[in-house]
Amino acid sequence: MTALSLRNVRKNFGATEIIRGVTLDIAPGERHCIIGPNGAGKTTCFNLISGRFPITSGEILLNGERIDTLPPHKINRMGLSRSFQITSIFQRMSVFENLRCALLWSRGYRYSFWSPLWRQKALNEAAEVLLEDLNLSARRDILAGLLSYAEQRALEIGMTIAGGASVVLLDEPTAGMSNTETDYAMALIRRVTAGKTLLMVEHDMKVVFDLADTITVLVYGQVIASGPPVEVRANRAVQEAYLGALE
């Protein structure tokens, strides 16, 4: 069974068709990158999968179950988590609180207004371990909004994987980073998504060809190629549409 499937997914905004029949199958544990020129619909795809926007037609399945009619929080509870291209964190809360909040639902706390957080030993330890993983321990009690850009990106990734989702969607996690920061972020992503299914939008071709098991090329809302990096690189249509300039 596939971890995530898109079957002929379409999305219209008004009269404009942004996603024009995307079909995609992602196997469990696969590292799948989506590339394509600006405006190809990569982020829109993420928004459809994660439930941020409803799809116009088609089907999206997570571990064999339909998710395309569910709201984002229910999709998240089923084990799909995403990050945002523009950093999306809880600005006025500490780094530690950000991570702890991201852990809460998966640990069964729901909307509890009776369990005191300071006594939840396992939860607090998990948040500390996560801080350690992200190399943010020194910044534990700082407001998330005051972190540096790279640190905020790391926190964003941490919050995305905190809930233990089996399918992780990362939207341009290295955008706007320097080379060293990118290397560091990629090492972090490899580490924290080990054993998970990873779907990633990325512009940095070096990163993509380093990391991906499979690459899908999206152009004007359609998949023009999908396969292992070697095949995609050799694909004539891809070279014309997108990669040509880079090689």
Binding site: S50, R52, P71, P72, H73, N76, R77, S81, R82, F84, S88, I89, F90, Q91, R92, M93, E97, R100, C101, A102, L104, W105, S106, Y109, R110, Y111, S112, F113, W114, S115, P116, L117, W118, M159, T160, A162, G163
Partner: protein
Amino acid sequence: MKSRWLILALIAVAIALPWCFYDWGHHRHAGFLLSMLSQMGMMVILALSYNMLLGQAGLFSLCHATFFGIGGYATVHLLNAVGAGDVPVPMELMPLLAGLSGLALAILFGAMATKQRATAFAMITLGISELMATAALMFHHFFGGEGGVTTNRMIENSLFGLTYASGLQVYYLILAWTVLATGLMYYLTLTPLGRMANATRDNFERAQFIGYDPRMVRFLQFALSGFFAGIGGGLYAITYEIVTFDALAAPLSANALLMAYIGGTTVFGGPILGAILITLLQSGVSLLSNSWLVYVGVMFIAMVIFAPTGLAGIIKAHGPIRHSGRLGSLVVPYLRLVIPSLGLLLGFVGLVELMSFLTIGAAQGKKLVLFGGPVDVHAALPWVVSGGSLILGALWLRWEAAGFHRIWENLTAEVRR
């Protein structure tokens, strides 16, 4: 640890205060003080419960008095029922039942309002406020029309055998419930719901992608804040033995907002400060001047513009400087601000009072007494002095404030290093 002592000290002061003004000659408590302290207690609850929405969940509600008022009406009817011997409820538990009535109504209205965000939410709560105000005037059986509903709190049903005939006993009942409600509201901030309320305030969208339905978080927070507001309303009914339309109308909702904002919405205890300050102004300044609401309004506007974090926020900003032991170096700069501020303040107060005495004061046949002497409002001198003091004070303060700002920036930069 330190804050624990501060809390204990505050409670001790609240307990002891009535005795500091005890009239030993007549064996009587100062009635004015007791009623002011009682009012403070319920306003603290109202302001804190409002801040569960504004400060903690980022919800700009305009109908908070609705839940305060319903708690009041419920208590009045309950007191009447207990007084008539229909139901046995001890006085000490009345505020709890008042809270439950606030909770019930907040569940109903919260289900309507919390589906929406930002402006739409504020609009709906404004509608709710108007709806309840209209209902209060229409449904006489429950709300008693314009005259309200009266009761007698001496129901002779108490867990401790108290009669509540004296203001002191009522005050201690209020104090006990204020401490309890404050403690519970603080506890709530340390639970998963409390933290997720902060999270949905900061980033509504993100909360959905970590598994939470932000509407549900807001709904629960709204319902719980209604519960606490209801407790405040119950205490109001017990104190005044009458509940009218005023207890749920828009001005009280605005008051809740003022107290929370002026006190500071970003710190848990901020609204307590705001409630105490506004109540002091209300009971103190309103005796001295017709225009006290003008002062509260201007203070609110000044806070919004110059100190959006409120009094508590200002105090909190001094934290790092205090820790580094540099607080002393701010004494002189602060003193330099005092003189122009006083000029500005006195000029402004002078002008407002002069104007108010031209119209309202004259109609009431009062004489304007400013700073210990009678003042002729038709002479030019007091107007010139006040106006000059206002303008000079403002200009001087602007200049001093720029200097203070530099010193402050340098100091905070030093402390950070």
